[in-house]
């Protein structure tokens, strides 16, 4: 994999003053959330590492453009989502149609409103990744965003460019689809 640091983006001017403390604070506060989103959205630890590095580097360069109108977390998520979606497009890893998600639980015999029970947490990460990989990118992203308690539905809606009602509806379906697929990984 090529080093993203060597890309043309190095030509972009960095912030006028390099706010070292601000960078350190942003990374300390949000790196786990950004890395987790990249990890589970892309499904590959190495790519997630690269993506997290690139996202924060982009953020640092554009720090002077961040005006505090949104939260830093939301701002970083926006950069991360764009970055990861571009990567998925580049790799032709997009899943098929979003509607195929619904077909999974429409005809599923399993109850989708029962709790997700996990007996063995050792391989939980693999089960979660397998489940997420089988979801559409849209449902995957929505579930990953709603898992962050710092985000409201309104913020999630703004991040994905949809209405809050649409997000609620899609999340309802995404949860059910996830439950069915997760059960199949047991």
């Amino acid at each position: 994999m090529t080093d993203p640091v060597q890309g043309p983006e190095l030509m972009e001017p960095p912030p006028a003053a390099w706010p070292g403390d601000e960078i350190a604070r942003l990374y300390a506060e949000h790196s786990r959330a950004i890395y987790y989103l990249a990890l589970r959205f892309l499904g590959d630890p190495q790519r997630a590492e690269d993506a997290t590095h690139d996202v924060f580097l982009k953020a640092f360069r554009k720090l002077d453009q961040f005006r505090g109108e949104s939260s830093a977390r939301t701002w970083l998520y926006r950069i991360a989502i764009n970055h990861c979606q571009n990567l998925l497009q580049t790799w032709h890893q997009r899943h098929v149609v979003a509607n195929s998600d619904d077909a999974i639980w429409d005809h599923a015999p399993a109850r989708t409103d029962s709790p997700l029970r996990v007996l063995e947490t050792k391989e939980l990460g693999q089960r979660i990744q397998t489940t997420l990989d089988r979801l559409s990118a849209e449902y995957r992203l929505l579930l990953l965003l709603v898992a962050d308690e710092e985000l409201s539905y309104d913020q999630i809606a703004a991040l994905v460019g949809q209405s809050t009602d649409a997000v609620r509806g899609k999340l309802h379906r995404a949860r059910k689809t996830f439950a069915v697929l997760f059960e199949q990984t047991a």
């Binding site: 190095l10 390099w18 959330a33 580097l57 640092f60 709603v146």
Partner: protein
């Protein structure tokens, strides 16, 4: 904030079979996001990212400082 998330506490179940008894820990998650939240909490950010980031940041040279008259006239 989100209202639909439901939280359930971890459950510990004891299973006994015949003369042998053992503890088995089961976790229940009411929703997918609760499961993902648990997963996220277990996830460790690889330390090399911070190191790479530090090196990348060091490569970014600060832009030339603008003269006072450029700042004044917005050039």
């Amino acid at each position: 904030m989100k209202q639909e998330s439901q939280f359930s506490s971890d459950e510990q179940h004891r299973h006994e079979s015949g003369q042998e008894s053992h503890h088995q820990t089961a976790r229940e998650f009411a929703t997918a996001e609760e499961l993902l939240r648990f997963d996220a909490a277990q996830t460790v950010v690889p330390p090399p990212i911070a190191e790479r980031l530090k090196q990348s940041a060091a490569q970014l040279a600060p832009p030339p400082r603008r003269a006072w008259w450029q700042k004044l006239f917005g050039r």
